[in-house]
């Protein structure tokens, strides 16, 4: 059971709103989970229960979907998600070195969040910017030909915008 009932109620209201115009067919489960992920930053056990009920599925089925797809997270990660493309086209132009720099500069490994919770660093396999690598995605923005120095600038800019907002 949720530890903080008022928050749970709040989450329930949000989930109701997110479901609103979606027909309760299983084909809308992914669109719904995308909305949940975007709005709440993760898909909580409560959201899984909610989705199972809404789409007439078992919780196991919804859990199976949530854990299958990389976009859905079971728990919140850092405020700013920084994705480094680690696929072949970026490997050919030094993304492994860039990743090493990013890890040491942020003090985390790929797949981890900084201790202050501000940045989550992770690998992604292809951003479709393969002629201008190494590529980094922050939010919906893709950045090309990212050097170590440019990486630090981008992360600083992204985290300061977040802080101000």
């Amino acid at each position: 059971m949720p530890h903080h009932p008022p928050q749970a109620e709040e989450e329930l209201a949000v989930l109701d709103a997110l479901l609103a115009d979606l027909a309760p067919d299983a084909e809308h489960l992914l669109p719904f989970l995308h909305r949940v992920q975007e709005r709440l930053g993760h898909v909580s056990p409560a959201a899984i229960r909610y989705a199972a009920h809404a789409f007439n599925l078992s919780r196991a089925e919804v859990y199976g979907v949530v854990t299958f797809y990389g976009d859905f997270r079971e728990s919140p990660v850092g405020d700013t998600v920084v994705q480094l493309c680690m696929a072949e086209a970026c490997q050919a132009v030094g993304c492994r070195d860039l990743a090493a720099h990013a890890e040491s500069s942020l003090g985390v490994q790929l797949g981890e969040t900084t201790r202050d919770g501000r940045v989550h660093l992770e690998a992604v396999y292809c951003l479709g910017n393969c002629a201008l690598g190494p590529s980094v995605r922050i939010g919906d923005d893709v950045h090309g030909r990212v050097t170590a120095a440019a990486f630090d600038t981008l992360v600083a800019a992204a985290t300061s915008t977040r802080g101000a907002a």
């Binding site: 067919d25 299983a26 084909e27 809308h28 489960l29 992914l30 669109p31 989970l33 995308h34 789409f55 089925e61 199976g64 979907v65 299958f68 797809y69 990389g70 976009d71 859905f72 493309c85 696929a87 072949e88 086209a89 970026c90 490997q91 050919a92 132009v93 992604v124 396999y125 292809c126 951003l127 479709g128 910017n129 393969c130 002629a131 201008l132 690598g133 590529s135 995605r137 919906d140 923005d141 893709v142 950045h143 090309g144 030909r145």
Partner: protein, 516 residues
Amino acid sequence: MSLRVFVPNDTAACSVGADAVAHAIAMHGAMHGVDITIVRNGSRGAAWLEPLVEVDTATGRMGFANVSPGDAPSLFAGSAPNAQYPACIGLVEEHPWFARQQRLTFKRAGRIDPLSLAEYEAEGGLIGLRRALSLTAEAIVAEVTASGLRGRGGAAFPAGIKWNTVRQASSATKYVVCNADEGDSGTFADRLLMEADPYQLVEGMIIAGLAVGATRGVIYVRSEYPRAIATLREAISRAEGAGLLGASVLGSPHRFHLVVRVGAGAYICGEETALLESLEGKRGMVRAKPPLPALQGLFGQPTVINNVLTLAAATDVLAHGGTAYAALGLDRSKGTMPFQLAGNIARGGLVEVPFGLTLRELVDDFGGGSRSGRPLRAIQVGGPLGAYLPEHQWDTPLAYESFAAVGAMLGHGGVVCFDDTVDMAEQAEFAMAFCAHESCGKCTPCRIGSTRGVEVIQRLRRREESRKQWALLEELCETMELGSLCALGGLTPLPVRSVMTHFSADLLAPVGGRPE
């Protein structure tokens, strides 16, 4: 008259600052009283020239390459383009990199405002659909069959045969599904087309619908492509408003409804049956075939599932006839192929040419060699499941048959170049690691084999029991090839074997023996 200035709004152009450039040009116009209209066009695909700014002139569009915001004032001499500025590359379409291509699918890319249906039509759009509306379903399929068009997603299955199977299937409900889950590293042609010329995909899907008797279409786009998703959604909404989509396609008795669905970060969903599972709201687990999706596809109904470029090419096939399309190309590789030059390459981007050019011509003449200036050592063609080709294979013509003959594949046309600093053992290990990361887990050779593959290659890289591990790796590759349910497990051995065959020293030579 207002000066029309084009600044691409495409992911690649914006990744190197096109938005800031557009802003700086607008500021320049406002501050110096130059009447400038900024058009956010799609990209022509010359990633190496981005941001590529173009200015309309009486003789054509004057291009400026690699523009930064600080360049904005220098691009203009009063209210004309400043042809003396070093960034000027002259008339864009006369630039050899473009002039030497033969663009069918990408002929409009970068020329038009992607969301302007009027510009789409003015540049040859909707001719194919109008013709299709005057033909029977059988005749549409016959054109596609005559064109020799094969699936551009990678498997290269003849589109006409697939469409005919769906056409002949009897069912009240059929679907057209577009596979826009372009996950292969080194490929970006689908993204470019969706961002630069989305109506071409819409038109191609309607044509497919007419051909097979389907009234519903779904475009499954990967979530890594937010700009493509936004562009498609807007294009569909405008197409509905203009009577291109909806209850009556261009005033005909035919209806066609189209929606966009977004993937969720799973490479395997580029495999057609996993994609269908995903559209049904399930884990993207590969289905056993048969039944073919053509007969039992989305929600168990007959389904045409084609890649973005296949559906787009269908518009050209219908507009100009299958025979004209089939006149281009080599052997049974008909028409043109949008190749994508990527990785360590000086002039990377999209090169659409008829099949038949050699890999070396593509990489040298268009690509201009490595970006790093070092000699190239290996070229991976066809994405993460494609072979690494050593230099002695670079004279292979780019065609399905000639690539198969050297143990490689063209796949979706991605060409990723590596210079001589590459450690091919590391690349072989990555191939297995990627398979392990992306395996849906349904079949054992792929799920377990890929993880064992990583371990075996790691032992080889540590030079532990090399002979034994080498034999083990060969056996493992064979098991994965023969025993996997789909191309992920079945083709992961392709890059691995290419490293074993052509770059064996990286796995076997004494450590430190290879010059860095």
